[in-house]
């Protein structure tokens, strides 16, 4: 304040400029402080919890990862101390390689180990004061345990049933979305990759395997669905009002012989001579898996109707799930027709699961679960709760992905799916999925791939049909017809599941 007196000697102009300059500098410093706020507050979470963050990497190397448990408390993943004193991951069974992934000091992490890394490593706490004081805690913090909905027994069985074939099985509880099994074959040696002593060899082996075991087929594999997709066409038809239980097409028997003429192309299908000249209704068409009937139903729903139902089921976007999912598609999206169909031929083909339709096994399991759950699609869930080292349980709520169609329509479709497994004609294809004492609903698929080789074998379904507790999707690559490989596999799985129920 006394300096002002001295300043009085100067002419005012310079003093004023000095003040203005000071304000300009203050604004510049304020701008830098705002920049600090942007990175340290607004962007803090996504940067600091990114797997590439040095803190996450260091914690990966130093912190004690939480365990991963199955629905019955079996330990699926835990830690072992190596010769050098460093901890590394051990997994209960190789069948778990797809959902759990691996955590390796050399090769990073994958699967649930990557998706829930910050919880497993105990980086979850976001209270700034707690974090500032955390440095005075004892070293090597322990992460949260993950409690999952997986059933170790069912998971092991699913992988065993897939055997040497490539394929995937997704089984979930349609009421809650709890995933019971998420199998993908071939599996890989996740414990080998996690163990520093064998890490390099195990990873190289997995990477070089032509079966691509590192690809989680259950969530990332995209397949032509074949006739299993007819359930989506049925959902679209009922949801749009284009069809009902009594819908039939008079030209259907004739077209089975001559082919269905669409835009000058013939959609040919001749594989159920035993219905002869019978004009099929919805249930019968589903039971015998009539391509002509479904092509006509798809055309009646139209591209827009098919697209709307597919989108509501989760097509066209990643499915909200614990693991990253590939995007299922109805079309390539380039065509001029609603929904991106190129023409009615593509639409007719898509209606029975050919065309440009590509789906993930998880998506198809959700289609089955939607029908099983009265038209309400459950949100799939793998982790059911986080358990902190102190024992505090933070449950993950169940949720839904929304209502896809009304309960009566869902019941009608479920009834047709029961016929497809248990009906006189249905069991000619699908008898393998039957379980003594339990009514099974389902639909096979035999996805023609073009070119030579066996088709992909599909089955989707649920049981017990009256009050479903399990819905599933099975895909066996080059497994032949759906009835030959996927349906019996589903039957074995369901038998084991119900045998274990009290």
């Amino acid at each position: 304040m006394t300096a002002r007196a001295a300043g009085g000697r100067r002419e005012g102009a310079l003093g004023e400029r000095v003040v203005r300059l000071g304000i300009a500098l203050a604004i510049a410093f304020g701008g830098v402080a705002l920049g600090a706020g942007y990175w340290q507050v607004l962007r803090a979470d996504d940067l600091a919890h990114d797997p590439s963050d040095a803190g996450v990497i260091a914690a990966t190397q130093n912190a004690v990862r939480g365990r991963i448990l199955d629905r019955d408390g079996h330990v699926l993943a835990t830690n072992r101390r190596g010769t050098g004193g460093a901890l590394y991951r051990v997994y209960a069974d190789q069948s778990l390689s797809a959902p759990l992934g691996y955590a390796s000091s050399l090769y990073g992490s994958a699967g649930l180990e990557a998706a829930d890394a910050s919880e497993l490593l105990g980086l979850g706490g976001d209270d700034p004061l707690a974090r500032a004081l955390a440095k005075f805690r004892t070293p090597s913090p322990r992460g949260d345990d993950l409690r999952t909905s997986l059933s170790l027994a069912l998971q092991e069985l699913a992988v065993r049933l897939l055997g040497n074939d490539r394929g995937a099985v997704v089984a979930l509880d349609p009421r809650t979305g709890d995933v019971l099994a998420l199998a993908s074959t071939p599996t890989f040696d996740a414990s080998g990759i996690a163990n520093p002593a064998t890490s390099r060899a195990a990873f190289t082996e997995a990477l070089d395997d032509p079966g691509q075991p590192l690809l989680d087929r259950a969530t990332q594999g995209l397949y032509v669905p074949g006739s299993a997709f007819k359930i989506v066409t049925a959902i679209a038809g009922f949801a749009s009002g284009a069809i009902d239980a009594a819908t039939s097409f008079p030209q259907q028997p004739g077209d089975e012989i001559t082919g269905l003429l669409v835009d000058g192309f013939r959609v040919v299908d001749g594989h159920h001579l035993f219905t002869g000249s019978e004009v099929l209704d919805f249930s019968r068409a589903t039971e015998v898996s009539c391509n002509i009937w479904y092509a006509l139903a798809g055309l009646r729903s139209g591209g827009a109707g098919m697209d709307a139902a597919a989108r509501r089921l989760g097509f066209g976007a990643p499915i909200p799930f614990d693991l990253p999912t590939a995007v299922s598609q109805l079309t390539n999206g380039g065509g001029p027709l609603p929904g991106g169909f190129a023409d009615d031929v593509e639409l007719a083909n898509a209606a029975y699961g050919q065309g440009e339709v590509l789906v993930t096994p998880l998506q198809m399991a959700l289609v089955a679960a939607t029908v099983a759950n009265g038209g309400l699609e459950p949100r799939p869930r793998l982790v059911t709760a986080f358990v902190s080292p102190s024992g505090a349980v933070s449950a993950v709520p169940t949720g839904t992905l929304g209502r896809v169609l009304g309960a009566p329509d869902a019941a009608t479709i479920a009834g047709a799916m029961v016929q497809a497994v248990e009906g006189v004609d249905g069991q000619k294809f699908t008898a393998g999925a039957q379980v003594a004492g339990v009514t099974v609903a389902g639909k096979t698929g035999t996805a023609q791939l073009g070119g030579s080789g066996e088709p992909n074998s599909w089955f989707i379904g649920f049981a017990p049909a009256e009050a479903p507790t399990i819905a599933l999707a099975v895909i066996v690559e080059h497994g032949g017809s759906g009835g030959a490989r996927a349906a019996p596999l589903a039957g074995d799985l369901l038998r084991a599941y119900f045998a274990a129920q009290p």
Binding site: V18, F29, Q40, K135
Partner: protein, 463 residues
């Protein structure tokens, strides 16, 4: 003014405000050392108590020297700069000591020891300048000599210097490497201040109409300054020291505004700079790379963008309150996450360990230095002293903004130091000199005789 009571024994003048602030600052550093020591030792402990004692002792010695010298100079600068230097020392103690190792005779000194030595030397230089510089005549009369000396120094570096990280900035003299562009900052400010003050009236009033309302100072007055600037910029650009170029230009523009009062000149200057920068980007690949890396470091996350990305992650890890001293900067495979953290990214390290709160506090300290410098300028006896004080303070303030902005990806990253905090001898010594000169310029002359009425009071008279 500058007539001085020559030697003899000056009357000591108590500096209670400085003492109080120094004590508060010492308290902060002791707490910081305690926080760091506790993290490192796992129990209650001070980090490197001997180094802390030496550092605080050096500050106390400088305070005492100013008291004994009896000059009535600014009492806020030393504690603020002392706090910044202390934070830098804590950071140097916290980082791995083998980041910088120098052999001096039988001794092998690590990062913190070297930083402490440079800090103590810097305060010695500052104290010497604050006490010894009584006249600005030797600065103002020989402005062209100084300018020539500065440019000569740069040329010397260019011819005999050593390339470090693609920039030819360092000159090896004996065991020590110097960065002459650090000293050039002071020399240029001296030249600008003397030159602009001398031509101030002409720059402001005898303006030549260019087009419409656009006027410029007459060419004979503008040309030498522009030439001087272009020369300095040119050499600096050839040496690839873009940070220094930005710093010189910004400070020059600020001083030009102070002298001429013309906002139009400032706008023209900024436009010229932006245009010049675009030309540079078109001509020089390394400038282009730097801009591209600034716009999207994630384009090359493991190469050119690595350092920037790691720094941003460090800021993010710090969050609002930070991880606490010593608890951040996770080592991955035995390496610090940010390369060259001690020279180019100390703010990122501090941002992680002290949080946004710490970053804002550090920025506020620089703003205080700028405010004190501008205050000294406003109260200066004449134009030269005013422009000199403003220019010296701006060198510190603008440099802090440039490197902090670079660390936070607000502007392209340039390899200049964060004043008083970054490791580096040349930088610390020159910044010490700047503080010393600012203190000298703030001298309010001998205390006027006490009024008889007040003389009876017990309290020390400080007018």
């Amino acid at each position: 003014m500058t007539q001085v009571d020559l030697p003899g024994f000056p009357r000591p003048v108590a500096r209670p405000r400085e003492l109080g602030l120094l004590l508060a600052m010492a308290g902060c550093l002791v707490l910081g050392s305690l926080s760091l020591g506790s993290t490192q030792a796992g129990g209650l402990a001070l980090a490197q108590p001997a180094e802390l004692a030496i550092y605080l002792g050096a500050l106390a010695a400088m305070h005492l020297a100013l008291v004994v010298a009896g000059r009535r100079v600014d009492e806020v600068l030393l504690p603020v700069v002392g706090l910044l230097g202390g934070i830098g020392l804590l950071l140097a103690e916290r980082l791995p000591q083998d980041l910088v190792v120098q052999r001096v005779g039988p001794l092998t000194l690590g990062l913190a020891s070297l930083q402490l030595i440079w800090l103590v030397l810097a305060f010695a230089v500052g104290a010497a300048a604050a006490i010894a510089v009584r006249s600005d005549r030797w600065l103002r009369l020989y402005k062209y000599t100084w300018a020539a000396f500065g440019l000569g120094l740069l040329l010397l570096t260019f011819v005999f210097g050593r390339d470090v990280n693609g920039s030819r900035l360092t000159l090896d003299v004996g065991p020590v490497s110097w960065q002459p562009s650090e000293l050039l900052k002071v020399i240029l400010v001296v030249f600008f201040a003397a030159y602009l003050a001398e031509n101030r009236v002409q720059l402001a009033d005898a303006r030549v109409r260019v087009a419409g309302p656009l006027t410029l100072p007459p060419a004979p007055y503008l040309l030498p300054a522009a030439l001087m600037l272009a020369l300095a910029l040119g050499i600096v650009v050839i040496q690839r020291d873009l940070g220094a170029a930005l710093l010189f230009f910004s400070v020059f523009l600020c001083l030009f505004y102070l002298a001429s009062g013309s906002k139009v000149d400032v706008v023209i200057g900024i436009v010229l700079f932006v245009a010049g920068f675009i030309v540079l980007a078109l001509v020089f690949a390394h400038v282009r790379e730097r801009v591209a890396n600034w716009l999207d470091p994630w384009a090359d996350p493991l190469g050119a963008g690595y350092q920037t990305i790691q720094a941003l992650h460090a800021f993010a890890r710090g969050g609002l309150l930070g991880t606490g001293l010593g608890a951040g900067l996770p080592m991955v495979d035995g390496h610090l996450p940010i390369p060259a953290v001690q020279t180019d990214f100390p703010l990122a390290a501090l941002g992680e360990e002290l949080g946004m709160a710490g970053v804002v506090a550090i920025l506020a300290c620089y703003l205080v230095v700028v405010a004190r410098g501008l205050r000294i300028a406003a109260g200066a006896a004449d134009d030269v002293r005013a422009l000199l004080a403003a220019g010296l303070a701006l060198v510190i303030g603008v440099q802090a903004i440039i490197i902090a902005g670079g660390n936070l990806k607000l502007i392209p990253l340039t390899g200049i130091t964060l004043p008083f905090i970054s490791y580096g001898g040349s930088s610390l010594l020159v910044n010490g000199l700047i503080v010393g000169l600012l203190l000298a310029l703030s001298d309010r002359g001998p205390a006027p005789p006490a009024a008889p009425r007040r003389a009876r009071r017990v309290r020390q008279d400080r007018s």
